[in-house]
């Protein structure tokens, strides 16, 4: 367990004994990431603000029953993801989802029609992320169709398992994997296009 997780554990124990100050510190430590997840899932600041409120209120109301097998952060992230998914289910409009997803194109013989001009993979490890690239990735993520965006965020950003996502989204594991693959391909295309332009 790292230092941050140990500190969370100590704050959680105090919060479970009724120390509101300790709970507020936990909120402060996790609110940005919970907000980020909610914002990226719903693409709405107003919805994200309400999800963060509901998430931490629910966490507070269930503090006593939380046994701490998982980290506090993982627990509140799952609450927030469920809240966001519920909201999206209510708002869902039928989208021509798959048609909107970009991916690589192939020749009749199955070869790549367009080759990546630069291998930009090393940029992922650079110390500072280019601001324009960051913006392009955020916009590209927001453009992913519903159903694909959530799977990508929950798996590749939040690190949930395929099984957890399948259960939360009422999908089969193969369906989750298929959506993740298509979302990654679409985002990869967008990042590739960014590097071709610069």
């Amino acid at each position: 367990m790292n230092d941050a997780a140990l500190e969370d554990r100590a704050l959680l124990e105090r919060a479970q004994e009724g120390d509101i100050d300790a709970f507020e510190q936990l909120v402060e430590r996790h609110r940005d990431r919970v907000y980020g997840l909610a914002l990226r899932m719903t693409r709405s600041e107003a919805d994200a603000a309400e999800i963060v409120q509901d998430t931490f209120l629910s966490a507070y109301q269930n503090l006593k029953s939380f046994r701490g097998e998982a980290a506090f952060g993982s627990w509140v992230h799952r609450i927030a993801a469920n809240q966001a998914l519920m909201r999206l289910r209510h708002q869902r409009v039928v989208e021509a989802a798959t048609e909107e997803l970009r991916g690589p194109e192939f020749t009749e013989r199955g070869s790549l029609a367009e080759y990546p001009e630069v291998d930009w993979s090393r940029r992922a490890d650079e110390r500072v992320l280019d601001e324009e690239l960051g913006r392009a990735i955020r916009q590209a993520t927001d453009r992913l169709p519903e159903g694909y965006r959530e799977v990508f965020l929950l798996k590749d950003v939040e690190g949930l398992s395929y099984e957890e996502i399948a259960e939360m989204m009422e999908l089969s594991v193969p369906a989750v994997k298929s959506r993740l693959h298509r979302a990654r391909l679409a985002l990869r295309e967008e990042i590739d296009a960014f590097y071709k332009e610069v």
Partner: protein, 78 residues
């Protein structure tokens, strides 16, 4: 013949280490002679890493203040 299309279709399972031994062999043979697919695999792998770094949001201060006030009112009312 194992094509670029086959190779790209199998990337998720390959990255997850869930591709069958036979298919891993076919993919590796293809990658050995196909630089574009090697670059594609590298950039496919890098995509989630870049996204994780780009998707860091900070809650606006005003929203954070409202959240604090909201939780205080609810926690104290309990």
């Amino acid at each position: 013949m194992f094509t670029c299309k086959d190779s790209i279709h199998s990337l998720l399972e390959y990255v997850d280490g869930e591709l069958s031994e036979e298919d891993v062999q076919k993919l590796r043979e293809h990658l050995h002679g196909c630089t574009p697919c090697v670059d594609f695999l590298n950039t496919y792998r890098a995509t989630p890493k870049l996204a994780r770094r780009a998707l860091v949001d900070q809650m606006p201060d005003e929203m954070a203040d409202k959240l604090k006030a909201f939780l205080r009112s609810k926690c104290q009312a309990k």
